[in-house]
């Protein structure tokens, strides 16, 4: 399924979609990988990861079969 990026996270990474790096197996590791590759993400006041359309905690396991999304601070309404 891969990783979907939205809002300013999409702008920072320069893409709306990417594959899950092979060695990444949980949400916390994915966040660290994203911060390492796109340091500007660290300037966001928050960065949540959603797995299969629900907010996930750092310990949650992920695989390439999951729908993963990078959620910068939301601003609806």
């Amino acid at each position: 399924m891969g990783i979907l990026l939205f809002g300013v996270a999409k702008d920072i990474a320069g893409t709306p979609k990417m594959d899950l790096p092979e060695h990444i197996t949980d949400v916390g590791a994915l966040k660290q990988w994203l911060y390492n590759h796109y340091p500007a993400l660290m300037q966001l006041s928050s960065m949540m990861i959603a797995v299969n359309r629900s907010y996930a905690t750092d310990g949650q396991a992920i695989t390439a079969a999951d729908e993963i999304a990078v959620i910068p601070p939301v601003s609806g309404g």
């Binding site: 939205f6 809002g7 999304a69 959620i71 601003s75 609806g76 309404g77």
Partner: protein
């Protein structure tokens, strides 16, 4: 509780009002969020709303589930617009109906406050001065 949840290009207050009409309700509370023509002193030309729609719908249902568990609300409509929006356009409508007004105000406030915190929708502002 009957629930109407919708995310689409154009939303209207009337469709929310029509949905919450009920002979058993005597209190209807409507919140509308519209596009303001300024942010922090800078003129706003337009906003663009981006949405992770599948998850946004799911999060809006979670809000509705909480409202249903917390208050005796009969009808709840939650509408959000997407795409380009200009000053005066409607971005969001929350409409709540219950037998009496008190809990309708409470549920409406909870719904819009939580929507702004948890529903994955993002606005991008375009300013008169052309800068980001």
């Amino acid at each position: 509780m009957d629930v109407l949840i919708s995310i689409k290009e154009t939303i209207t207050v009337q469709e929310a009002l029509d949905f919450i009409q009920s002979p058993e309700c005597g209190g209807e509370v409507i919140f509308t969020g519209t596009i303001r023509n300024h942010t922090k002193g800078r003129g706003v030309v337009k906003l663009f709303y981006e949405c992770y729609e599948a998850m946004a719908i799911s999060e809006m249902h979670k809000i509705a589930d909480h409202v249903k568990a917390q208050w005796d609300i009969k009808k709840l409509a939650m509408l959000h617009a997407t795409g380009d929006k200009y000053p005066g356009d409607i971005a969001v409508v929350i409409a709540v109906a219950s037998a009496h007004r008190g809990i309708a105000f409470d549920a409406c406030e909870y719904t819009i406050d939580t929507l702004k915190e948890t529903v994955p929708i993002w606005k991008k502002e375009f300013f008169e001065d052309g800068r980001d």
